[in-house]
Each structure stands twice: as structure tokens, then as C-alpha cells.
Subunit: 335 residues, 2 copies
């Protein structure tokens, strides 16, 4: 559990892309962020109030989030100085970098001295049980994809919001590093020891009230040769009643490999077949299509065509929102 | 790489079951074992010459294998004494226990002082790349199962032997702890970080001569809710041309959970569908059926029935050997 509110540390990164974690958090959890700390030369800007560490501490910041990545993913010395200062001002630190915060002597020493928590959200140090597959109460929705990086986290957060707007008791469950900072908790599922993938997901999204919806952030794709094992353990552990297929229609090969992209049909069919092992009632409830590469009229036409082809509401969550999919879920699962 | 030959340490375990790792190694690699070390009260016996550590060192033993498990999986003090003595006599140590050898001060100190290697085969400390799914030369066979613990390791070792007997260049590739001690190398695939399952298997069974066969030890089952992610990453990483389905016909539920056992048809169909992602030519080549619970005439009838039903050679590798399956592979893949 990462304590709120957050001070967003942007360092001195040369562009917004290097601070995409920070932008993601601010997009979805603006209320949790008291301000941003930018060092000289920083070209990223999350439109939060610029603050010193002292200002942020006075404003009640409990955790400084390392919301940016330096070239090479390392922590430069002048970032370490800011981190140590934040710890001295009473804050915890959360980082999604590969390097562990406590592997840096100055940070470890300061954290020990001031009793600060160091959250390395890319690592999964907790011990999990193996998955059991036992049916559990509550509803769960999983976002799945035709590939990695097709908007599964965004779709999950957008459907959480649209369901909450409809007075559904829905909660986003994070399985990746940025998601964990957005949720304030979760597990980087790709960092779990292989034997415990589904068990970790059972822990992330436990038994709940019958009308509650956990919205589980998907990872990878059942058709990606690097990561399909993670996706399958996630599917079995999530035991979803419903899933949304996320897709980028102009992509032809899976990210980082030569494998062709599967069709949406393939993904629906395989997700149903494999998902039935732990939830016989699993079904698709919508398509989240990233249409950024298309003109608006083309995008609208594509979504209409898909809706007709698959018999499922299709939308671009960024461009057109998730109202249609949320309405479909509400009417389909009305108590 | 575990140095050979081995001294098999059996401790003072109360029965043969507690030394099943040792029995497995002796079954398949008798030539690698110079002797066994049994403490007072030991009720296990691998039919190796009983030796002191000094005898074993004189006989050339390079590694002492912890071939038994104490109640609770811990290392009792008097076992630690034997381990330290073996290190002092110049041996490396290999253990499949959960506890890491170097977490015990006396063992770590002795190993540092004498330059001994400590192999914790249950852990996978090496860094792997993510899987690529790129086609690679050489043939690979994977043993898959309707469940955990249905004889996948045994079937893999038996088919390796039967193929080698037919002058096929075949080599067992270990993915579990006992298998690693039998092969002298390998990776405990269920202990790898989830993101790297298929990548680790690509490393275990790399590109090879076109006529070479790697026989990859399977793990879990695509239908087991705890471990299917491991099985899928293993399937994608192994990129198998051929697979053998292992099955225990009297079992009705999957090991450790309430999930019903899948049919052999289910396993063949799903292995083909998912396996085609990294090898479009994947096909089943045989059924390895554990008939221990059946009388011999029942067993023979069952295997005849299965052969007819599935159009694949079916045998019990322990009871009737792997000749039929090996002959089928040789004729099917003759250069």
C-alpha cells in the first residue's frame, strides 16, 4: 500500500515520454497529487503545482513518486539527493525503476534512519500461495489484448470510471508498475516467480461482495511468444466473468517479435476456451480499439463495423469513452 | 553445470520416498554415481556402494548430491556437518531443497574457503532474455500432461534412452530439480521470473544440428489452474516439433485442486493450437500412460484401445518401455 497524497518527481528528463508514468498517474488520480518536483532543465510538465520538497511536505505529501525514467533507467546522483531530501522531510518513496531503491547506500541509510518505506513496484517480493482456481464471490473483469501495449491498462481504468459513474461498486486492480502507482497497490505480475502467477492474481483480486466488480489490468497476450505464460496465469487467477479485448488495428506484428498479430476472433475464442477452466461463465463484453492512427470518420466507421461483426460494443476509450461498454455490462449483469 | 561423478547423500531419512530424488538419479544415471553416504538409521538404500566422504573423495566424487529430504524440508545440523565435510574433501554440493545452501553460515564459509560450488537447483538465479519465438534449427520433443505428476520427466528420460538406442542424437533437457541433477544442468522453470519463462526454455534447448533431438521435460499442465502459465511458456519456448501426452487413467481431479482432469483429446487439441504459435508443424507422437493402478491384462487392453482411438502409439514407459513410440518418431522424422 503506497501512502497518499503523492509528490510527483519528474527529475530533469528531456521530454514528456520519459515521464509517462507521472502523466498516467495524474491522468487517473489527479486528486492524489499535491504537486510536482522538477529539477533544472526538466522538459516534462504534468500541470501540477511546482513545489520544493519542503513545500510538498507542508502540503501533506506522504510519498514521492519517481514518475520519470532517466536515460538507461539508472538513478543519477542528483536524483538520489532529491530522494534522500524527500525521505528526510518524512516521505516514503515509490519507484518503478529496475534498480532497487535500497541498493543505493544513501537511500537505504536515510530510509532506515527516518523509518521511510521504499516501494520498488517493479519487483514482487511478497510470498504468494499457488493458485487454487476455487470459485470466489464477486464479479471480475479482465482486459486482454491482441498484443502487448495496446491499451489494456487504459481500458481497465476507463471502464472502472464509467462503471463507478453508473454507481457500480468497481475497483481497478493493478498488475503492472504504473498501474500500481495509480491504484496505490497491486503486484507487478510479470515479476512474480512463475509458479505463483495465478496465485498472485487470486491475492490481488480476492473474494468480494456479490455485486462488486474488480477490474483487473491485463498483461501481454495469449498469442505473444514471450509473455503468453503470464497472460494465461493472469487469466486463470483473475477468474473473470467478463473480458474486454484491446486492439490496435494498424499493427501487423506483435511487439518485439516477428509473430503476426492474432485476430480479435482468435483472442475471444482462446480467452473463452482457456478462461472456462476457472470460470465457466466467462464472456466478452466489449472491444477497446486504439484508433489513434485513423481519421475520426474512419475510426467511427471501423467501430461500427466491429460492433456489427462481433455483436459487442466497440469504442476507443481515449477518443470516444467507455459509455457503451459500461451500459452493456450494467444491463447484462443487473442484479 | 554440476560436476560428475556424484556421491549420493541419503542422510538418515526414514523411508525410500524421502530419497526419491536419489532413486531417480540412480535409475537414469547409475554410471555417474560412485557411492552413497548414509547416516546412522537411514532406511533408504539406492544400492550404491556405501562410502565415507573420504572414500568418495578417493573414488573421484566431484559433487555430493543431497538426494533426500528431511521432514519439513530443512537441513538438520548433522546434515550440515556432512555437507561441510564433503566441501572440505574437495566436493561441490547440489541440493533441491527450498533453503539455499549459502544461507547456512557454516556451508557458505566452507564453500568460500575451499572454492566449492553450491548448486541450489530449485532456484533459478541466472538472468534470461525474454523469449523471441524465432524458428531455430534442430528437433525438439516436449512431454506434456493431463496433470502434474503424471510421469513427464520419466517419459522424457525413457524416450531419450529409446532414441539413443536407435542411434538418434537425442538429449534430455531438464526443467525441474530432479531432472537437473539427472542431466547435470538445466533450469527449474517454475522458479524463473514470470516474464522469462519462454526465454529460459529457449536458453535450455537452443538451436542445434538439424538431426538433433532435444527432449524437453514438461511441467504442470495447460489445464491446471495453478501452473498453466508455466506450461504455456514452456510450450512456446520449447517450440516442439513433437509432443508425448502423459496421463494417469485413474485420476479424476487435478493434483492439489478441485478441477476435473481434462481428456487426452483436450490436451492434444490445446497443445496443438497453442503450440502452433512458435512451431506450425507441432504434432503428437505418442501417449505415455501410467498404468500402475491396473492389472497387466487391463493395462494392455487400455493401451490397445488408446492406440486405436488416438491413432498414436500408447505405452506405459515403466511397464512396457518406449520402443513403439521411439520407432514411430524414427519413421516419422527419418531424414
Amino acid at each position: 500500500m503506497i501512502e497518499k497524497p503523492y509528490l510527483m518527481f519528474l527529475g530533469d528528463v528531456p521530454d514528456a515520454l520519459a515521464a509517462k508514468t507521472a502523466y498516467g498517474i495524474v491522468d487517473w488520480r489527479r486528486d492524489w497529487c499535491v504537486g510536482q518536483l522538477r529539477l533544472d532543465g526538466c522538459k516534462a510538465d504534468c500541470s501540477l503545482p511546482d513545489m520544493t520538497i519542503a513545500d510538498a511536505a507542508k502540503s501533506g505529501a506522504r510519498t514521492m513518486i519517481i514518475g520519470a525514467v532517466n536515460a538507461g533507467g539508472q538513478l543519477p546522483d542528483h536524483w538520489v539527493t532529491s530522494i534522500v531530501n524527500a525521505i528526510e522531510a518524512g516521505m516514503d518513496i515509490a519507484s518503478g525503476l529496475h534498480i532497487r531503491l535500497n541498493s543505493i547506500d544513501a537511500i537505504r541509510a536515510a530510509a532506515e534512519h527516518h523509518g521511510a518505506k521504499l516501494h520498488d513496484v517493479r519487483h514482487a517480493d511478497r510470498q504468494f500461495a499457488t493458485g487454487k482456481g476455487t470459485p470466489r464471490s464477486g464479479h471480475r473483469l479482465l482486459t486482454v489484448g491482441t498484443d502487448c501495449s495496446v491499451g489494456k491498462k487504459y481500458a481497465a481504468l476507463a471502464i472502472e470510471k464509467a462503471l463507478c459513474d453508473r454507481d457500480v461498486d468497481a475497483e481497478f486492480r493493478a498488475t503492472g508498475q504504473t498501474g500500481i502507482m495509480i491504484a496505490g497497490r497491486g503486484v507487478a505480475i510479470d515479476a512474480v516467480v512463475a509458479d505463483f502467477i495465478s496465485g498472485a492474481v487470486e491475492w490481488i483480486a480476492p473474494e468480494a461482495d456479490p455485486d462488486h466488480w474488480d477490474i483487473v489490468e491485463g498483461q501481454g497476450s495469449l498469442f505473444h511468444p514471450s509473455f503468453a505464460g503470464v497472460s494465461l496465469g493472469l487469466l486463470h487467477g483473475a477468474q473473470p466473468d467478463a473480458f474486454i479485448v484491446c486492439h490496435e488495428p494498424t499493427r501487423t506484428r506483435m511487439r518485439g517479435v516477428q509473430t503476426p498479430l492474432p485476430s480479435i476472433d482468435d483472442v475471444i475464442d482462446m480467452t473463452m476456451r482457456l478462461g472456462r477452466l476457472t470460470n465457466p461463465d466467462i464472456r466478452p463484453v466489449g472491444l477497446a480499439i486504439n484508433t489513434a492512427a485513423l481519421a475520426e470518420d474512419e475510426a467511427r466507421q471501423l467501430l461500427r463495423d466491429m460492433w456489427k461483426t462481433y455483436g459487442l460494443p466497440a469504442s476507443d476509450p481515449v477518443r470516444f469513452g467507455m459509455d457503451a461498454i459500461a451500459d452493456h455490462i450494467v444491463s447484462r449483469y443487473r442484479p
